[in-house]
């Protein structure tokens, strides 16, 4: 059946009503500003970025077409491999732990009442409003290898001061820990909103039936909070794949080749070394990785969540 056939099946009167010119016009007027901004600020640059990845080009100005050269170079680039695995490692260290921890904290806070609840929630949320530079300064001084307030504690375990951000195996876990501390407030907030949506009557009914706390969590809370969990995890995944600021700041001046993530490789290629084409290539690959991961994850988790219900 062609499109025209379908159209002819629809009674003309109904069609007229559905595509009322004035309504269409109104809709366009409402949608247009967004579509325009979206096209100019997102679609167009994205297309340009993809085109740029097939060129040898400076950061600014015209380049020359080189086909798949940049991609060939990318897969031979040792640094790309390191940056890719660092990024995946960082996501693994942050996304799931941060989500689970946020859920646990949210359940705890949800049991509190009145101003105590507000106070504790605020305590967890305050770090989230800090700019990354402040987070960097605060933790940089706390861990400082000479004067850090945490060094006496570290010395108890390690037997002496440890320059945490200059010890490769400790770098990513420490930055991941700081990132969770910094950003978990937002996840907690989402979970609390989700928990408050669960009707108390369900728990009441469960208590009357003599259900244990653990079964209440497993059978009621967990399935009902599942959509929020999926949302938090997806937001986390996308955000952490784009890791740049913290790793850049804490690693600056150090062994940055060993600690860099993909966005830092983009930054270095395009902005520092004036190689816009190669930077765009890394960006395209990161873009694809994030799309694949987040679509896969969202679909998988949603399907599983559906089964639970």
């Amino acid at each position: 059946m062609s499109a025209a056939d379908i159209a002819s099946d629809v009674p003309s009167k109904a069609r007229k009503r559905r595509f009322n010119t004035r309504e269409v016009l109104a809709a366009l007027v409402f949608v247009l500003p967004f579509v325009l901004v979206y096209a100019v600020l997102f679609i167009y640059p994205t297309i340009q970025m993809i085109l740029l990845s097939f060129q040898k080009a400076p950061l600014i100005g015209a380049g020359t077409w080189v086909g798949f050269d940049n991609y060939a170079k990318l897969f031979k680039d040792k640094l790309f491999g390191v940056a890719f695995w660092n990024t995946v490692y960082f996501v693994a260290l942050t996304a799931v732990p941060s989500t689970l921890l946020a859920l646990a904290i949210a359940i705890g806070i949800n049991r509190l009442k009145g101003w105590v609840q507000s106070l504790i929630l605020a305590c967890f949320f305050i770090p989230y409003i800090l700019p990354v530079s402040v987070v960097f300064r605060v933790w940089g001084w706390m861990f400082d290898s000479q004067f850090g307030i945490l060094q006496p504690l570290i010395a108890l375990v390690a037997g002496g001061n440890v320059p945490v951000f200059r010890t490769l195996p400790l770098f990513m876990p420490t930055v991941a820990f700081i990132t969770i501390w910094w950003t978990i407030g937002f996840n907690i907030l989402l979970f609390i909103a989700g928990l408050r949506n669960i009707s108390p009557e369900i728990y009441e009914a469960a208590s009357i039936d003599g259900t244990s706390k653990w079964r209440q969590f497993a059978r009621i809370t967990w399935p009902l909070i599942w959509p929020v969990t999926v949302l938090v995890l997806t937001i986390q995944l996308i955000a952490q794949f784009k890791i740049f600021d913290q790793v850049y700041l804490f690693g600056n001046g150090g062994r940055s080749d060993a600690t860099m993530g993909l966005v830092q490789l983009i930054y270095r290629s395009a902005f520092q070394k004036n190689n816009g084409g190669y930077g765009a290539t890394v960006a395209v690959v990161l873009f694809l990785v994030i799309v694949v991961f987040s679509v896969l994850q969202f679909q998988l988790l949603r399907a599983r969540g559906g089964d639970n219900k």
């Binding site: 950061l59 100005g61 290898s145 951000f165």
Partner: protein
């Protein structure tokens, strides 16, 4: 839309008439001087605007130092926007020229402003050129120096009758002096910023220069031939201090200063830009008697890494800086150079020789003591891979810094650094 255009045209007309009334050139100025030196620069700009009222007015903006500044300069120049004049690191000049962000300054323009090459140290003036063309006018020379605690050096018998340190020249002598200071109660003989490549690069490049080593030779080869051995020797010097506990390992920038100002380290190697920090602390009565000298001679002859703040004119595509404006810009540059004595308060050494040779400068301490280093300064290699926030700086973080801290063997660190940088040559 039409009425918008009308308004725009009217305001443009209004602006141009007010411009005519004042007959004054407005020079848009960008710099990256956000620290203590920025305060001193703002004072200089105010003085200029006062003296040149009705003729030239500088409108200055301070941007973020390093890569952000240079990215902004490049992107704005490419679309015909940006300042009329800007500060620029000479070490960063080759990349600036390659990316087309800089406009050549002609000999006539330099002469018309009353400046000449003979007013500058030869190595300094040449560092402002790429392929024999002038792209910048030097403003200062900044380098690293040795800060010292007079009380501690005196107690260790390392202070001469003239109040200056003695017996520090030579690798072994310096190490022995560090040991003496440590034995005398200092936690460290010398504090260094050992957690980052940039500060270590400056020390390393000085030690390499003292052996006439070439980091990048004229054939475009990094650490070729026996230059590699010299580099390894240079690394070993600092590695040895750290290994022997005479200098702190993996220490961050502010902590390295605090070790010195807090009396835990007897000496400190850092840039001249920390002179205001010491001066201000001393003025508040929170610092011991201190001094600063040029880096000791560890090897064959004196040499110290140096860079220059300079002034450059951007190559604004499709909207070049007009001839009248350029003349005004050159006036600004010349004035700044001739008044750069005030700039010495920021620790920097004026690039302009008449100021450096003046009586006022010669009595300015400690600048006058360490300013001899300008004669033997070695500037970063002239390459798009070198300079402030460059691949060479990154490589220093990746290989030099871990070598200093004993994580990498000096020989293999230098080989890896060489191969990495050579691999980045396109």
């Amino acid at each position: 839309m039409k009425s918008f255009l009308k308004v725009a045209m009217m305001s443009a007309a209004l602006l141009s008439t007010t411009g005519l009334v004042h007959a004054q050139e407005v020079v848009t100025w960008w710099d990256f001087l956000g620290g203590g030196d920025g305060v001193r620069m703002k004072a200089l700009i105010e003085k200029f605007n006062e003296e040149n009222k009705g003729k030239i007015e500088i409108q200055a903006t301070t941007l973020e130092w390093g890569t952000p500044f240079y990215t902004k300069v490049q992107t704005s120049a490419a679309i015909g926007e940006g300042p009329d004049v800007m500060t620029y690191h000479l070490s960063r000049l080759p990349l600036g020229v390659q990316s087309g962000a800089l406009s050549e300054i002609t000999a006539d323009e330099i002469a018309a402003a009353g400046l000449s090459a003979s007013d500058y140290a030869d190595s300094n003036w040449k560092a402002a050129q790429v392929d024999g063309k002038q792209y910048a006018i030097p403003f200062d020379i900044h380098s690293i120096i040795l800060y010292y605690n007079k009380d501690m050096l005196k107690a260790a018998g390392l202070l001469g009758d003239d109040g200056l340190p003695k017996g520090l020249d030579g690798v072994d002598n310096f190490k022995a002096a560090l040991q003496k200071l440590k034995d005398g109660g200092a936690e460290y003989g010398v504090s260094i910023h050992s957690a980052a490549g940039d500060s270590q690069w400056r020390i390393f490049y000085s030690l390499l220069g003292q052996q006439d080593g070439k980091f990048l030779d004229d054939q475009g080869q990094f650490l070729a031939g026996d230059n590699l051995d010299k580099a390894v020797k240079a690394v070993n010097v600092v590695q040895d201090w750290v290994k022997s506990g005479l200098a702190p390992a993996s220490t961050e920038y502010p902590a390295s200063i605090a070790l010195f100002t807090g009396g835990k380290a007897a000496m400190h190697i850092n840039g001249v830009w920390e002179v205001p920090t010491m001066t201000d602390l001393k003025a508040k009565g929170e610092l011991f008697d201190w001094g600063a000298i040029a880096l000791p001679t560890f090897f064959d002859h004196p040499a110290t890494w140096a860079d220059s703040h300079s002034f450059a004119i951007p190559n604004r595509v499709g909207n070049p800086v007009s001839a009248e404006k350029r003349a005004a810009v050159m006036q600004v540059i010349a004035w700044m150079n001739k008044n750069s004595l005030a700039w010495a308060d920021a620790g920097h050494i004026p690039a302009y020789s008449p100021v450096r040779d003046s009586e006022e400068f010669k009595t300015k301490q400690p600048n006058a003591t360490y300013s001899v280093l300008a004669q033997t300064a070695v500037f970063d290699p002239s390459s798009v891979l070198a300079g402030v926030a460059s691949p060479v700086y990154d490589a220093a973080g990746n290989y030099l810094m871990p070598a200093i801290n004993g994580e990498l063997d000096a020989q293999s660190a230098m080989e890896q650094m060489r191969d990495d940088l050579q691999g980045q040559v396109e």
